[in-house]
């Protein structure tokens, strides 16, 4: 609990599951991420059933402010990536962690958001 999973772990899982070489497993993990990134940078939404969807949202320009100096800084229009977890994923995570917490797990590494409101989901 509280570990950080990286590409290496995902490659290892692919290696265990599909009998390709370790090298090729690592390459395929990379290819999956690249293919998703390619699609997103073309502005396309990527939907992975039972996991969630990644979509690109266009944000308008606005006037921001440097919080340290108070100086006004223009923020240009930009595109941001939004991930919406599927219900399946949300339920999987919420159930497992609610049970773990009830069993007394410390759940280090999970930050509380402070505000209890869930904007737009």
């Amino acid at each position: 609990m509280g570990q950080t999973i990286t590409r290496a772990h995902l490659s290892e899982a692919v290696y265990q599951e599909v009998g390709l070489s370790r090298n090729e497993s690592a390459d395929l993990v990379e290819s999956v991420l690249t293919a998703i990134g390619d699609s997103l940078s073309e502005g396309e939404t990527v939907k992975l059933s039972s996991f969630g969807s990644f979509s690109v949202r266009q944000k308008g320009g606005r006037m921001g402010r440097n919080p340290k100096t108070g100086e006004e800084v223009p923020i240009k229009p930009r595109r941001v990536l939004v991930f919406r977890p599927s219900h399946v994923l949300k339920e999987q995570i919420n159930k497992a962690l609610t049970v773990a917490k009830a069993a007394g797990a410390s759940l280090t590494g999970i930050s509380s958001t402070g505000s209890a409101d869930q904007a737009a989901d």
């Binding site: 990134g37 990527v46 962690l97 797990a105």
Partner: protein, 110 residues
Amino acid sequence: MIKSELVAKLAQANPHLYQRDVERIVSTIFDEIGEALARGDRVELRGFGAFSVKSRPARVGRNPRTGQPVEVAEKFVPFFKTGKELRDRLNSETETTAAPVPSEPVSSSD
């Protein structure tokens, strides 16, 4: 793009693999991420982004119809933060949909 299209794309780039193996690879990756989050782990994929779990504290909500207070238990939600490289890619390649923008990078505070 949906999962099957992603699988088809990868199968095309890897003609030595069976499509069903590519499918298993894609599923394994995302199952693994989901399981990691369900253990309370964080998943960090440099250049792409990081998945983590945040907790939303218990609160007293209200039934909007009756106005009656309802206890809402603490809950755990998955969260994704886009990696720097991917964020930059989104804003470098096709500026077609955006309003005309000067091209020098801006260091905004987010």
